[in-house]
Every structure is written in structure tokens, then in C-alpha cells.
Subunit: 228 residues, 2 copies
DNA sequence: AGAGCTTAGATACGAGCCGTTTCTTACGGA
DNA sequence: TCCGTAAGAAACGGCTCGTATCTAAGCTCT
């Protein structure tokens, strides 16, 4: 793995090699087993090269994870709210699995203590996919007449994500059946039931009603790739 | 903090002092800052004493967390499914907060790699409270005639827990408003909506119907205190 | 009360890691 | 071709984990 006899890599090429080495170490030994020295050796370079790019081990790990995230800027139109939601959740799954359970937990743990990064992660954990939900999936559904704005509040909008995240954190996987069950036996029934209950009660809806546009700008409005 | 001039502690007394020291270190510096040496010093003892009780740092941390968990073997009867569920979720919150967000994440991270402990934690993360849900809250609700068995499937039963856990992991807190929102705008509507949708469809219910008794024994059937 | 066994507590060790410093040398742009 | 930038090697101080060794305190049993 030494650099002997090979031409020196630089810039992005070297960086990519380091990300790959980090990821390989992560897979083999887990979050705790990733050490700067091992990564450097595996990438055929040395520690100072790593520290010139990232100020700490955590920094390297976070950026390695972000680097692996596939893009997610649209949701295929499935024709119904049901299928759009399923598609969106499959997209979320793809992103979650591209990082993996243990790295995700490790990153969350290390990041909690840093309010700034924590806020950023928090925003990204929720913001991006939620924007797709609001600006694409629910918009389509409203245009189709499947839902009315008052049927939804903030918690209902993030409900499918919360459940997929829970599944992922507990089991490390999100099978198709789980996604469909979440949509078919929780999300859609909750929407229907809420409509029903609101009609029965005839009371003013809770704070959900005419919710202000909370996150304009749509997906991609952030200043860094999303963590999920 | 040295032991000079004090009478030596032994057994449970010493153990309690170590747990307290560990917890204090956890509060002050976070998961990563808890070292065996600092804990030993703070507890007025030394490393070998720690290693005689726990085989590793993680072992100590996990057991410190478990040690802090308040008991939870019943749910006050609120008279309705709604209030019982709120009560149960408040109990869950109490348990979550007794450990805290970062320690919880840290423990999960470290434990994921150990299939045995992972399974145990997984079971405890879900099992105990879920048993209270099934054996107390839902039983009462059925006796009151509020629900029928076919209204529920596994996912719906754990739904409130999943959402509270999500809230806790993302924000580190679970305010009363969150609990009530979860129950009033998700859980109860989902039950109502499911009933409604099943009636409309007239199809056979999904696998929810006559679910077998999956966890007999009720709360306390485990072999260790629950993690949540 | 005394003997003996258990276990607390002090100290030191090897191995490994983090993050830094110093230095040499390859490479690429002008 | 020359020179600045950055790669790569080596070593360091400080810290941590987990272990080994030893002394002595105090509980238990007679």
C-alpha cells in the first residue's frame, strides 16, 4: 500500500482515494475502528495528508458519509399520493443505506455536542426530504384533489420519515414491506382519520390549518449536502 | 478524592459510588470524555476496581445507564385510550430522559456491532413498553369498547413509541405538546382512519387480524432492566 | 479475639491512537 | 527549466485502554 514506485496523486484524485479507504475501514471494523493511521496506510498516503484536509477524525468521517450520499432532487410521479410517498420513502432508504446504521449513529453521537453542526445535521436530517414532501409530493396530491391543506400539519408531513428513520435506527434496514406498511396502515389512515375526526368534531382545526410556507426554496436550498 | 483516611467501601456501596461518578463524568464531558481513570479518581478508587466489575468502558457505560432507569411496571388509568396512551408516553419520556440523548446514541453506536447485546437492547428498546401497551393500555381500551383487535397491527401498536423515540433522538427532548400531538393527530386518527378504510374496502384485513400473542409474560419478563 | 481469605486501592506497564512537527522530494504551472 | 505547492515519511508528546503486581484493609468464621 505504500506509495513506492507509483506516481503521486494530488487534489481530488487523492481525496477520493482517502474517502474510499475510510469507507472500507468503516465497513470492516466499524466506526470506532477507523483510525487516521490505518486510513492513511490503506489509501497509500500518510497522516499529515489527512489532517491537511480535515481537522479531525470526526470531520473525516462526516465528510466521507456526505460524500457517499446520492443526489435526491426529484421524486418520480407515481400518479397517486400513495405511490409518490412510497417512492419518496424509497429514496430516503437509499440515502440511509448509503451511509449505514452504525456510521449514522456514530456521526450523530459525535455531533450532538457541537450545537452548530448539530443544528446543521438536524436541518439536513429533516429539511431536504421534507422539502421534497412539501414541494413535490403533497403539491401533486393537492393538484390531484387527493388532499386539502387543512388535512396536514407538521407532524403528519414528517410522519413517514420519522417512521422510516426509526426502523432504520433500530434494525439497520428498511424493507419494501415496511415502507408500504408505513404508508398504507399509518400515513394514509392517519390522513383519512384526521379528516374524519375533524369533521365530527367541527371544532377549529389545531394549529395545522393555514400553515405558513415554512421552508421556501425547495430542495437544494441548503448550503451543504444533506445527511439524509 | 483519594481514599486516604476514609473507611474502605465495598460491594454495592462502592458500586453505587462508581455509577454516580460515571454519570457525573457523562454529564460534564459527554460520552467520549468518560475515561476509566477519571471515573476511578472521581469515585475515589482505582482502575482495577472498575475492571473487576465491568470488562470494558462500554460495559460500564451501558450498566450505568441501565442503573439509572426508573421502574415502569404500570400505567395510571386515565379512563380513555387517549389518556392512557399519553400517560404511557410520558413514562417512556421519563425513561429516555433519565439516560439522555447523547449517552443513548453512544450506547447504541457501540452496541450495534455486538449482535447479542444488540438484540438484547433492541428487545428492551421495544419489548417492555410495548408489553405495557398491549397488556395494559390496549387491553383496557378493548374492555371499554374503544377498539377492536382487528383495528391494530404491530406497526400501529408501536407507532407512538417510534414517534417519541424519533423526537428524542433528533431533539433530545419530548415536550408535553409533542406527546399530545402524536396521540391526537397521528395515533388516534390512524386508528380511526384504518377502521374507516377497512370498512370501505371490505377486503380482508392485512396480517393484523388475529395476531398471535407475540410476547407473553408481560413487563418484567426480560432478564435485565430495559434500556428504554 | 485472632487467622485467613477476599477485595480495595496504588502504581506501573505495553500497545495503540490523536493531532502536530519537521523534513525531504515529487510534481505541475509559468 | 525553475520554483512554489503539496505529498509522503518519520517521529513526538500526551492520552487512553486494559492488565499485572503488590500492599493492606476489613469481613467472616471459628
Amino acid at each position: 500500500m505504500s506509495q513506492e514506485g507509483r506516481t503521486r496523486r494530488r487534489g481530488k484524485e487523492l481525496e477520493r482515494a482517502i474517502f474510499e479507504a475510510t469507507w472500507a475501514e468503516l465497513q470492516e471494523g466499524g466506526f470506532a475502528a477507523v483510525t487516521m493511521e490505518r486510513v492513511a496506510k490503506r489509501a497509500g498516503t500518510s497522516k499529515p495528508v489527512l489532517y491537511r484536509r480535515w481537522s479531525s477524525r470526526v470531520e473525516l468521517l462526516v465528510n466521507t458519509a456526505l460524500h457517499r450520499l446520492p443526489d435526491a432532487d426529484s421524486v418520480p410521479d407515481g400518479g397517486t399520493l400513495r405511490d409518490d410517498t412510497v417512492n419518496l420513502l424509497k429514496l430516503m432508504r437509499q440515502r440511509l443505506l448509503s451511509i449505514g446504521r452504525e456510521p449514522m449513529l456514530g456521526i450523530l453521537t459525535e455531533v450532538v455536542r457541537n450545537p452548530e453542526v448539530n443544528k446543521k445535521v438536524f436541518r439536513h436530517l429533516i429539511g431536504h426530504l421534507r422539502a421534497l414532501m412539501t414541494d413535490v409530493v403533497l403539491k401533486r396530491a393537492a393538484e390531484r384533489g387527493e388532499i386539502e391543506p387543512e388535512d396536514l400539519n407538521e407532524r403528519l408531513k414528517t410522519l413517514p420519515f420519522d417512521l422510516v428513520r426509526s426502523e432504520f435506527i433500530l434494525t439497520g434496514a428498511v424493507p419494501d414491506e415496511a415502507i408500504e406498511e408505513i404508508v398504507d396502515t399509518v400515513f394514509l389512515p392517519a390522513l383519512a382519520g384526521r379528516k374524519l375526526l375533524r369533521r365530527e368534531a367541527r371544532g377549529p382545526a389545531d394549529a395545522a390549518g393555514a400553515s405558513p410556507p415554512e421552508r421556501s426554496g425547495g430542495p437544494g436550498a441548503g448550503d451543504a449536502p444533506d445527511l439524509v
